[in-house]
């Protein structure tokens, strides 16, 4: 009985299982496990604020043949696109990708189906493991610094009026002393209903550096469910940022394990949502070893009847003395119906640590609005200025200037469209 109440969107789960190809071995077992476990309802603590029930309203069909889809524009954060992998409706498009001109020691390729590792931690990961047939792999050999950012582009496409489901897998492996920048783009047309269930597994080796940025600009009828798991070794630097602008419901769940001393983890994000959108950023920063720092700044703007969720958990294990953790979560509510559910959680088991966190939610400052307008700036332009300034504080966390400028431009475009 209790199991039943912990599940939701059963109709969706049944459709997924019915549409799945015949699977054998571990994949078949994975699908069976997913069918049994179902999707978490809001009774499950980690999903308390994010309801997947609406998935039931989708009528699932097969994804379209990606080769037959015309792609007009491939988004890029760069002036001159560098290496990239392009996926359409979850399927690799070699003709749109650029994998030549890579230095020796760099592997950038589409993930072959059989290479998909089985990782069954949670129902959405299990589903991805069972059905994932495509994905992206980036491996950078020890000591190698990859100058040009690598872009992973996921473009949605649907066939007819049926919704599609795809399960891309992303594997990023930065070996000891190496450095790379990865920009993910997830884009789609507003009219298309689809479910993108993404799993990313990231490892950053000793003294390696990874800048990992993601722009989520899915169509407004899309479901974007991402689960990122990152393992960091001694002295690694991980600089990650997610910008949530699109999707009807987007959940970005990121877990990073700081499994060595001297690690610096920067886990930040921003969102701008309206209508009935839901943006969920759920993070776990797991300080397993001493002398590490983590910094997390998540800010967002909520208009219409949209709702944002921030769940930020920081664990400091008994061994992780001298941990320095900082977390800030701020939301700007632009309408009466806008809503934020913020849940910072600090679990500290070591006694010599420095951890601070803050969460605020507020409206546009009336004094600031009056001041700007008293200087002749019209109401809307004044709002755009203040919202931009608000989001900028989060966007400043992005170390790569080119990407920061691109993300800022995308956020400004969102505000300009209001």
């Amino acid at each position: 009985m209790r199991d039943e109440q912990n599940q939701t969107a059963k109709g969706f789960v049944e459709q997924v299982v019915a549409l799945a190809p015949a699977l054998s071995g571990a994949r078949g077992e994975g699908l069976a496990r997913f069918a049994k476990a179902g999707l978490p309802s809001t009774r499950v603590e980690a999903w308390k604020f994010t309801n997947l029930r609406g998935l039931d309203k989708l009528t699932l069909g097969p994804a379209p043949d990606a080769a037959a889809v015309t792609v007009d524009a491939i988004p890029t954060a760069l002036e001159t696109p560098g290496p990239r992998l392009v996926f359409v409706a979850g399927q690799y498009r070699a003709d749109l990708s650029r994998v030549d001109d890579l230095p020796d020691g760099v592997v950038l390729s589409s993930l072959a189906a059989e290479a998909t590792p089985m990782l069954g931690d949670g129902p959405l990961r299990t589903l991805n493991s069972a059905l994932s047939s495509q994905g992206a792999v980036l491996r950078v050999a020890a000591g190698l610094k990859l100058a040009s950012p690598v872009e992973l582009v996921f473009i949605a496409a649907t066939a007819g009026d049926k919704a599609a489901l795809w399960n891309p897998r992303i594997v990023i492996d930065i070996a000891d002393g190496a450095e790379a920048t990865v920009v993910e783009h997830h884009v789609g047309a507003n009219a298309d209903a689809y479910v993108s269930n993404i799993v990313a597994d990231v490892t950053v080796g000793i003294a390696a550096r990874l800048h990992h940025y993601k722009l989520q600009a899915e169509g407004l009828d899309a479901w974007h469910l991402a689960n990122v798991s990152t393992h960091l070794a001694q002295d690694a630097v991980y600089d990650t940022f997610v910008l949530n602008l699109g999707a009807r419901l987007a959940r970005h769940e990121a877990r990073q394990v700081l499994d060595g001393t001297g690690i610096e983890a920067r886990v930040s994000g921003a969102y701008a949502i309206t209508g009935n959108q839901v943006s969920d950023i759920t993070t776990l920063i797991d300080h397993a070893k001493p002398h590490c720092t983590s910094r997390e700044v998540v800010k967002g703007v909520i208009d219409g009847s949209a709702r944002a969720v921030f769940q930020g958990k920081i664990i400091v294990r008994p061994d992780a003395q001298k941990t320095d953790g900082y977390q800030l979560n701020r939301a700007l509510l632009l309408s009466e119906q806008a809503e934020i559910n913020s849940k910072p959680e600090l679990e500290i088991y070591a006694d010599d640590v420095k951890c601070s966190h803050g969460a605020t939610a507020g409206e546009l400052d009336e004094d600031q609005m009056f001041y700007l307008r008293a200087r002749g700036i019209p109401r809307n332009a004044a709002r755009v200025l203040l919202i931009g300034a608000f989001l900028d504080e989060a966007l400043e966390e992005i170390i790569n200037e080119t990407v920061r400028a691109y993300f800022r431009a995308r956020a400004e475009a969102w505000m300009g469209a209001r």
């Binding site: 009336e366 004094d367 600031q368 009056f370 001041y371 700007l372 307008r373 008293a374 200087r375 002749g376 700036i377 019209p378 109401r379 332009a381 004044a382 200025l385 203040l386 931009g388 300034a389 608000f390 900028d392 504080e393």
Partner: protein, 252 residues
């Protein structure tokens, strides 16, 4: 020709009457000072003219440049040439002074049917104006009023005034929080803007500011009304005798 004509202006805040029939006319080229005790309604008058929300006009009219000022939006008043130098300039983190002033100037130019200044033209203008006020490049690049001292904030107000070139400048307690050197710089900036087309309304509690910005007319505002008007000597008289003669007792 009259620049602004305030007639029998009544205003309330949260149902409480603050302005109880203000009459005031300022002609182009004139500098008027309004003096008065705390609570007389000085700041209310400046906010009502600038269009701040939270004030209810219960009676009276204000004509500015031939238009009904009270029916205009805040930004329309600014575009029409009204400028309020704030007693407490607002800090705006994340918006640079340059961006702020460029947006403001170009918005105002747009309503006047003038082409916007490009980044280079604007930078040249703002640098020249900032130099007059002994403001550094760093100050014009920083976020609006963030980390500014009291004096720097008031200089920033003077800079905005110099860039926007209003027809009527209302200076609300510009001297508060200023040491004498800062006061001189700001007053000098204000005096530079005096001219035959421009009017000024200087609101102050103390006579000190009026040593540097010498008014043509001085008014006493007490209990929501102008109770006395005179020449610049009236300010000196008030300094000597206080406001008690107007039935107001001030806490020491």
């Amino acid at each position: 020709m009259s620049l602004i004509e305030i007639k029998n202006l009544h205003a309330t805040v949260d149902g409480k009457a603050i302005l109880k029939g203000v009459d005031l006319t300022i002609n182009a080229g004139e500098v008027h000072a309004i003096m008065g005790p705390n609570g007389a309604g000085k700041s209310t008058l400046s906010y009502v003219l600038a269009g701040r929300e939270g004030y209810e006009i219960t009676e009276g009219s204000v004509t500015f440049g031939g238009q009904d000022l009270l029916s205009m939006e805040i930004e329309e008043r600014a575009a029409a040439g009204l400028f309020l130098a704030f007693q407490y300039p607002v800090e705006i983190p994340g918006v640079s002074n340059t961006t702020f002033l460029k947006e403001a100037l170009n918005a105002i130019r747009k309503t006047r049917g003038e082409a916007p200044l490009d980044a280079m033209q604007f930078l040249k203008l703002i640098r020249a104006k900032a130099k007059d006020l002994s403001m550094t490049d760093d100050m014009i690049k920083r976020a609006v009023n963030v980390g500014f001292s009291g004096g720097e904030k008031k200089r920033n107000e003077a800079l905005q005034m110099a860039v926007l070139q209003p027809k009527l400048a209302i200076l609300d307690e510009t001297d508060s929080g200023l040491d004498i050197d800062a006061l001189k710089i700001v007053a000098e900036g204000v005096n530079k803007l005096r001219g035959p087309e421009r009017g000024m309304l200087v609101i102050t509690h103390y006579q000190r500011l009026l040593d540097y910005i010498v008014p043509d007319v001085v008014h006493v505002l007490a209990n929501g009304r102008i109770v006395k008007s005179g020449g610049k000597d009236l300010a000196l008289e008030l300094e000597a005798n206080g406001y008690a003669q107007f039935g107001v007792t001030e806490a020491a």
